[in-house]
């Protein structure tokens, strides 16, 4: 597992708030190998969510480089980075952010439809993914009819739809109770075991411990980066 899927070099992100400048990320260099399961942890305001957004091409760095599978994400135009995210990356958020007007099946289909996957193929894969996350019997339910944990499972299935190289998760257990959170952690472990590189940002110690590598951030810099002890 030495081949790198993601690397950053001297990554910086500054925000201008009125007359002040906030240095959210200060010169972070990070390498992630294919198949790794990395947790980025740290106190509130340490820059971990900003770091995730930079890694995923959702935000543009003030300076520095982000490379995913040889592609310089930081140099892509908005259109290019959108296409890149569609085909190569997956995202899971704290608040699930499913389309409330669509069923679970249709939510998982959405990225595949955008990628012009033929209908028959994408429906079959969506069903397969929902079964994989344990929701095979709930495919026609809308988000309002699903529990928080079920919604997050659908979000994970959606993130896996286009076979991403990296799956980014921002506080995936943040809105879940302890029991459901544990189920989510187990699911992410399963996803990683099946070959998907995962980068997760979390406050949750249990989730952090499930990762194989933990990167500690404070005040925008990485203060510790070690393999997790189990």
């Amino acid at each position: 597992m030495n081949d790198l899927v993601l690397s950053t070099s001297e990554l910086r992100r500054d925000y201008h708030m009125g007359g002040d400048v906030v240095h959210a990320v200060r010169g972070v260099s990070l390498d992630i190998a294919r198949g790794e399961y990395v947790a980025i942890v740290g106190p509130s305001g340490c820059g971990k969510s900003t770091m995730l957004n930079l890694l995923g091409g959702i935000d543009r760095p003030t300076s520095g480089a982000v490379t995913i599978d040889g592609a310089r994400v930081d140099r892509m135009s908005d259109r290019e980075s959108t296409r890149f995210r569609l085909h190569h990356l997956g995202f899971v958020f704290q608040r699930f952010y499913l389309m409330p007007a669509l069923t679970a099946l249709e939510n998982v289909e959405l990225p595949m439809a955008e990628a012009k996957v033929p209908r028959g193929e994408r429906v079959a894969r969506a069903r397969e993914l929902l079964a994989y996350v344990g929701l095979g019997a709930r495919v026609e339910h809308r988000p309002a009819q699903l529990s928080g944990g079920e919604q997050q499972r659908v979000a994970i299935a959606r993130a896996l739809a286009n076979r991403p190289r990296v799956l980014f998760a921002d506080e995936p257990t943040g809105e879940l109770d302890a029991h459901t959170g544990t189920e989510m952690i187990a699911l992410l472990e399963q996803v990683n075991r099946d070959g998907t590189t995962i980068v997760v940002v979390t406050h949750d110690d249990v989730l952090a411990q499930a990762a194989r590598r933990v990167v500690h951030m404070r005040d925008g810099v990485v203060v510790d980066d070690r393999m997790a002890t189990r």
Binding site: P100, H141, A144, L146, S147
Partner: protein
């Protein structure tokens, strides 16, 4: 009856007709004068048939057109001349189309009408008001049409207003939910929305009245130019302003009330999450 040359005989005092030795004067309406370039003192020939023999007359005065709605759409020219001259010119003899009679008013008018109609051979006396009603049918139709458009506009405005109020109030449902959760009563919320709706309605009315007044100036300027008449086509009266303002305020209040009621009837948690109560049952089943 109107004559081929569209001449209108004004009822002047009927004197004994002196032998004419010099051209007599006529009064010409300003539209005719403007179109053919006539000025006071110019001579012209009046005839009852096109190209036929006629009388030479002198333009003695230019007459401004009256603000008469019945003249607006008709592109007529008018010449005022002495009665006897017109009678002679058109071979009408000792005849007129009508007499206009001024009485001492009140009961005198009634008794005059009775006396005339009793003694009359082949003519009838009418109050001017009765004639006006008959001849203003066209404008009654236009009034009815305008009123219908007005009613349709009011109904349409009510629907538009309700739509927009519902949308805008709906946009703030999370704020309303938070207020309800910290203990603000539904009544207070409804009241505040109504006050807001009323303020918008009053402000909107003010702007609307200003726009309407400005539009009426524009309409009068434009149509007076098109029809060459001093007639006022659009008049904004205090009554109309009062009606428009009252209507918009009432509509605004009703729309605000309905929008607010819809919001406060929804439980706060549902407002926040957007989920309905029956989700609770689905939740229990899933776990």
């Amino acid at each position: 009856m109107l004559l081929p040359l569209l001449l209108l005989a004004a009822a002047q005092q009927i004197d004994s007709i002196p032998p004419r030795v010099a051209p007599r004067t006529v009064a010409v309406d300003e539209r005719l004068a403007g179109d053919v370039g006539l000025r006071v003192g110019d001579r012209m020939v009046l005839s009852s048939t096109p190209g036929g023999p006629g009388d030479t007359v002198i333009v003695g005065a230019l007459v401004q057109r009256a603000a008469d709605p019945s003249e607006v759409a008709r592109a007529e020219y008018r010449v005022r001349m002495h009665l006897d001259e017109l009678q002679s010119l058109i071979g009408y003899g000792d005849r007129v189309d009508r007499f206009a009679v001024q009485t001492r008013g009140g009961a005198h008018t009634d008794s005059a009408i009775r006396a005339i109609n009793h003694a009359a051979f082949g003519f009838q006396a009418y109050r001017s008001r009765e004639i006006a009603v008959e001849t203003s049918q066209t404008f009654l139709v236009v009034s009815r049409f305008h009123r219908a458009i007005g009613v349709i506009t009011i109904v349409a405005s009510a629907i538009f207003l309700l739509c927009i109020m519902l949308l805008k109030v709906d946009e703030r449902r999370r704020d309303v939910a938070a207020l309800r959760m910290i203990g603000i009563s539904a009544r207070s919320i409804v009241r505040s929305v109504i006050v807001e709706a009323a303020s918008i309605a009053v402000a909107g009315s003010g702007v609307g009245v200003a726009i309407g007044w400005a539009a009426s100036l524009g309409i009068n300027w434009f149509y007076r130019g098109v029809y060459r008449t001093p007639l006022a086509f659009a008049i904004v009266t205090p009554g109309i302003v009062a009606l428009a303002v009252a209507l918009s305020i009432v509509l605004g209040l009703v729309a605000g009330f309905l929008a607010a009621q819809r919001l406060v009837r929804t439980p706060p948690l549902e407002l926040l999450s957007g989920r309905r109560e029956q989700r609770g049952a689905a939740n229990a089943a899933a776990i």
